[in-house]
């Protein structure tokens, strides 16, 4: 009960945000609507993130889906009682990483290929390095992670060699202020 009452306000805030982005009041957002967020244009991989809001093939995202994507980023509760049988909540470690993984894996084949990694690097580093340097970085990254020697990084490999080792994957994919806002998502949807 507590959760609902608290997060209703937060949810409202997100909904206001949604409405702010949805200028024409269509009830859904289109990729163009995200351009209103000026900072995104400066974000080297902003496009990818916007893309992640849209399911493949869909042109629009409605509010529940919008919140569902954001739900990946709310903090993982430590003392969450694990309900058996329930799928992982969106903010579980695995789902967070899966989300990140999908940002790399643009063709959705479950693997980050060399070209895909290179593309991400190119976007992030921009003009700072030469193409050749990018290639050697990508090469090295794949070699580090590539446990089964198929020349690409699968999700399992991504999870093992990549950010999990940082020990702070929680921090890395968590937005502080999404704490309560999204935690009521399940209630909101069911009710």
């Amino acid at each position: 009960m507590f959760l609902i009452s608290v997060s209703a306000a937060h949810l409202l805030r997100l909904y206001e945000r949604f409405q702010f982005l949805d200028k024409d009041n269509r009830g859904h957002l289109r990729p163009e609507d995200f351009e209103a967020v000026l900072e995104l244009s400066e974000n080297p991989i902003g496009d990818r993130i916007v893309e992640a809001f849209f399911k493949p093939g869909q042109e629009t995202v409605d509010f529940p889906s919008f919140v569902r994507v954001l739900a990946h980023f709310r903090p993982t509760e430590k003392n969450r009682n694990r309900d058996k049988g329930q799928p992982d909540p969106a903010n579980s470690r695995t789902r967070k990483l899966k989300f990140a993984f999908r940002l790399y894996d643009r063709d959705r084949d479950g693997k980050i290929s060399r070209a895909e990694l290179l593309q991400v690097l190119r976007e992030m580093l921009g003009m700072q390095v030469t193409e050749e340097q990018l290639q050697s970085i990508a090469e090295r990254a794949i070699q580090e992670a590539d446990l089964d020697k198929d020349g690409a990084i699968s999700f399992d490999e991504f999870r093992k060699v990549g950010p999990l080792e940082l020990g702070s994957a929680f921090i890395l994919l968590t937005v502080r202020h999404l704490n309560d806002e999204v935690s009521s998502l399940s209630y909101w949807r069911s009710g």
């Binding site: 991989i45 954001l70 992030m124 390095v129 193409e131 050697s136 990254a141 580090e144 890395l172």
Partner: protein, 980 residues
């Protein structure tokens, strides 16, 4: 002998001299003994005077044990008596011979001050050595404990000897010299990201926690006094106790560092505790000053406005200190931008500016620790990027050395100070109450704050963390220095406070420091792992930052990531432009990280003698670093290319483009692989302003590299052959035709290069690659195709800054635009005779063997090894040569580009086959058969290569090389594919 008649201090230094006049042998020996003892005592005494009295600057030479004259002769002090008698004897000796010119003068008072300091440093350092003799011991007992114990012992000795403690940790010495070195080191090497990620928690603990501790301890002690637990003799009012609470409540950075560095708790925990100990300085300073002033005016006269002034003072002290630090950080970054010509004093700027930040803050009585910390944190990024690798190392080691020795001295002096009975007065009630209160309030404070903080923290601090944080609240020298600084007139109970502080410091440092390790083990606190960073982490970390920023932006939140991103934009657009060199500004951090990782790999490879090469690591394509360590990255490259068995496909030989080129290669490799550059016996060049890569150093490195290479020969890994690698490998290998060089005599090895000979057996064991291919050419072709210059110089033809792609296997072409790096340029100038000889011999030997294509002969093992040695040679000898240019402090960057060049060219070959000129097309058939799985087949039987039309035409090929327009020769760094 009238012992007390003349105190030694009153003696002019001259009187102490002329021991030589001592004739009587027995008198001499006893006199010497006594003299030694006396000198020791003098040392100690003067040191004490120096340390205790250094608030007023000493005029060096004048100072000769100033504490002695007023003391007079302590009756019955044996040590002093001895020293006096020694002096007396000297005097007698002196009087025997009268004045006149003395050959040896005893100028003790002249060197006294620095001498004593040096001796103290020496004692401290030696003590450290001794502690670390026993590995097991040091893992259990923290060094700080041992140092304090040593201090106690030393203090005891001095006390027994002189009946009076002469030294203690002098506050001004501590605050002006010892503390800054530690804080500077800590601030400069503070993991900035971690620090700012946890800044909220750190600030909370530092400000709220310290205030809480101070007030609670103060009031509770006062309550205890009222209740009569604390003795009546302790004349202290509420203000005194609050003052005492303020100075005793702050967690001490020195103690925390000393203890936690040995405990290895996880980074987050460490940064919170340590960050707190640094930041709480502002609170301590303000509280201390405020209370002192309150005590001075008397509690009755304190007005309400004064409390607000106190709060304002806190803000000014903390924020002002931080600002001063940041200003100095900017200045420091800006200065290091322009130190290119004065590399040798680069590190000095770092020390000076960081220290000045501290002093300036002290000057305005702001928080000096905060200032220094933020100066270090702020400047680190820019400074590290600006200064050279050597300067970086210098800064690091000097800072660590200074910090380490300062820490040692602090702890030793803490021990020594404790022995001084006159300074403190014991009250069991006060001591035990303080201990209990400190511990309890620390724990309560930590738990309470954590409870609040955990509602905001993404990574909550669990119970175990809280236990460690409570237990890790160590008090140390700062508290002691502050309590010593108290004015005994104003604070009546100073002596009691001093005693209590000493006990508290000892208890926390020794007892808690001793037990925290088992505690951490027992609680299974997550330790810090010595995990090496991977490039994946670097990539993902950045990507995640971007993701989070984007999400915050989309969700319309202005959170931490939002602001950090804003800061990074600002940094990139303005600060970095201002503070970074142009050359550095363009560099990407990720690229730097990549290079660092590669270097680290290579270093670990070397450290472990190549045993631990998990092939995954090794086979990583390391583009050598642009910055430095050519000799290190080398190894990785080398291993990479030699790490697998070799499969030789005879088809390949068939398609070798030009035999002339091969020959050059061969010649080049063999010579480069076996000739050392001539050794200079002495170094003629000395400069205070540069540190040229000395001739000696270069040669040593060369020898080292050779040895390294030969060692690496023995290491083989077949697991990770990658197509490209194989290709490049084979391409190179097949081009070596050892047969032509089967006369080892050809190679004039300088006699002094013993090491090379030592490594030979190793090489011979490793005859894995045996391949022999016959050239169809006649020896006459050689003179034709090789320019005349080559008769003098064994080097590759000095042509083609930008060779066509097919040429990329030539090692000296790898570094485009660089002069052919190997033997050619330098060595020939120096030993033309040897090379000439070698050349002639090689020609003659060639003539003798190679007329028609003949069946293969078994290759002389040594030769094959040698020829392999000469192999891909990515960088190894380019390093020395590059460094050989007179002004080169850091190795020239182009040295490192041989490999990537090659690799990339291969990629390009794949991608743009149709664009390749004829020369490179010749290479194509060569590559296709090489995409074999990488098991090393036995050395294939050598067969005469069928003479192909192409190979008959080496001159043409060579000419095509020569006439290739030099594409990017002026730009060695950017090898764009289009150049090919």
């Amino acid at each position: 002998m009238d012992v007390g008649s003349r105190p030694p201090a009153s003696l002019p230094p001259r009187l102490l001299s002329s021991i030589k006049a001592e004739r009587d042998v027995s008198a001499m020996s006893s006199g010497m003994k006594m003299l030694l003892l006396g000198v020791t005592l003098l040392l100690l005494r003067a040191a004490g005077a120096d340390l205790s009295g250094s608030a007023a600057p000493h005029p060096g030479p004048v100072l000769s044990s100033p504490s002695a004259p007023p003391l007079g002769p302590p009756p019955g002090a044996p040590g002093v008596a001895l020293s006096r008698s020694a002096v007396e004897e000297e005097q007698e000796a002196e009087e025997h011979h009268g004045g006149g010119y003395r050959v040896v003068q005893w100028e003790w008072s002249y060197v006294q001050t620095p001498y004593i300091i040096a001796i103290w440093l020496l004692v401290a350092s030696v003590a450290k050595i001794l502690f670390h003799f026993s590995q097991r011991f040091t893992t259990v007992v923290p060094e700080s404990c041992m140092l304090i114990l040593l201090g106690l012992v030393l203090g005891g000795i001095v006390l027994i000897a002189s009946k009076k403690q002469l030294y203690q940790l002098d506050p001004s010495l501590f605050f002006l010299f010892l503390l800054p070195t530690i804080v500077g080191d800590a601030g400069y090497f503070m993991p900035a990201r971690l620090f700012f990620d946890n800044l909220g928690s750190i600030l909370t603990y530092a400000v709220v926690g310290t205030l809480w501790n101070a007030f609670c301890t103060g009031f509770s002690l006062y309550a205890a006094k009222l209740l009569g637990v604390i003795d009546e003799r302790v004349q202290a009012e509420l203000m005194d106790f609050l003052l005492f609470g303020a100075l005793i409540s702050a967690v001490d950075p020195v103690a925390v560092l000393a203890v936690f560095e040995e405990v290895h708790v996880n980074e987050m925990l460490f940064i919170i505790v340590f960050g707190e100990s640094l930041v709480n300085d502002a609170v301590t300073v303000v509280l201390y000053k405020v209370y002192i002033s309150f005590v001075e005016v008397g509690p009755g006269n304190v007005q309400t406005a004064d409390y607000f002034k106190g709060v304002a003072s806190f803000l000014i002290v903390s924020i002002g200190g931080t600002l001063v630090g940041l200003v100095f950080a900017v200045i420091l970054g800006f200065i290091t931008r322009f130190t290119k010509k004065v590399r040798i004093i680069e590190p000095l700027f770092v020390f000076l500016m960081v220290y000045l930040a501290y002093l300036t803050a002290e000057l305005f009585s702001l928080s000096a620790i905060l200032s220094m910390t933020f100066c270090g944190i702020g400047a680190n990024k820019y400074v590290e990027a600006n200064i050279s690798q050597k300067s970086r190392t210098t800064v690091k080691y000097t800072m660590k050395t200074l910090a380490s020795i300062a820490e040692t001295i602090i702890f030793i002096f803490l021990g020594i100070s404790a022995v001084d009975k006159s300074k403190w007065a014991w009250d069991t009630g006060l001591v035990s109450c303080t201990l209990v209160f400190i511990f309890v309030f620390r724990a309560v404070g930590v738990v309470g704050q954590t409870w609040v903080l955990n509602r905001f923290r993404l990574v909550p601090l669990d119970k175990i963390d809280q236990v460690v944080m409570s237990y890790g609240g160590l008090r140390g020298a700062v508290a002691f220095a502050l309590v010593v600084l108290l004015d005994g007139e104003q604070v009546k109970a100073k002596d009691y406070f001093v005693a209590t502080t000493i006990v508290v410091v000892f208890f926390t440092v020794m007892f808690q420091g001793l037990t925290i390790k088992p505690l951490v083990k027992w609680l299974k606190v997550p330790r810090s792992t010595n995990r090496k960073p991977t490039i994946n982490e670097e990539i993902h970390e950045r990507a995640f930052d971007h993701i989070l920023t984007a999400v915050e932006d989309i969700a319309g939140l202005q959170g931490y990531h939002h602001w950090r991103d804003k800061w990074e934009q600002f940094d990139k657009n303005y600060l970095s432009k201002l503070l970074l060199r142009k050359s550095v500004y363009r560099k990407s951090e990720l690229w730097e990280a990549y290079q660092k990782i590669n270097i680290r790999d290579a270093i670990s490879v070397i450290d472990q003698g190549g045993n631990v090469l998990t092939s995954a690591r090794l086979s990583l394509p390391s583009m050598a670093s642009r910055a430095s360590f050519p000799e290190v990255t080398n190894v990785t490259n080398y291993l990479r290319e030699n790490g697998s068995g070799v499969c030789l496909d005879l088809q390949v030989i068939d398609n070798v483009p030009g035999s002339k080129v091969e020959e050059d290669m061969e010649t080049h490799h063999v010579l480069a692989g076996n000739l050392y550059k001539p050794r200079k016996r002495y170094q003629s060049h000395y400069s205070r302003h540069f540190m040229p890569l000395g001739e000696k150093e270069r040669q040593d490195r060369e020898v080292f590299q050779r040895n390294m290479r030969s060692r690496m020969e023995t290491f083989k890994s077949t697991r990770h052959k990658r197509h490209k690698k194989e290709r490049s490998l084979k391409k190179v290998n097949m081009l070596r035709d050892p047969h032509r060089w089967n006369d080892p005599v050809v190679v004039p090895v300088e006699p002094e290069e013993d090491k090379a000979d030592h490594s030979d057996p190793e090489k011979e064991e490793d005859v894995g690659i045996t391949f022999v291919a016959r050239k169809a050419e006649t020896p006459k072709q050689r003179p034709k195709s090789v320019p005349a210059a080559l008769d003098v110089c064994q080097s590759p033809p000095p042509h083609t800054p930008s060779p066509p792609a097919a040429d990329s296997h030539l090692p000296w072409k790898g570094s485009v635009g660089a002069p052919p790096p190997c033997v050619s340029v330098e060595a020939t100038k120096i030993i033309p005779v040897d090379l000439q000889q070698a050349w002639n011999q090689s020609i003659s030997s060639l003539e003798s063997i190679s007329s028609p294509p003949a069946p293969a002969e078994p290759v002389h093992p040594r030769v094959s090894a040698l020829s392999r040695l000469g192999g891909p040679r990515p960088l190894s000898y380019t390093g020395p040569t590059a460094g050989g240019s007179p002004s080169a402090g850091p190795p020239l960057p182009q040295a490192s580009f041989s490999f990537p060049e090659r690799k990339k060219k291969q990629q390009v070959e794949e991608e743009e086959e149709e664009e390749e000129p004829g020369a490179s097309q010749e290479m194509q058939p060569l590559m296709s058969p090489l995409r074999l799985p990488g098991s090393p087949p036995p050395a294939p039987p050598p067969a005469p290569p069928p003479g192909s039309g192409r190979r008959r035409n080496p001159c043409v090929y060579l000419r095509s090389l020569v006439t290739t327009p030099p594409g990017g020769s002026s730009e060695p760094h950017s090898h764009r594919p289009t150049q090919l």
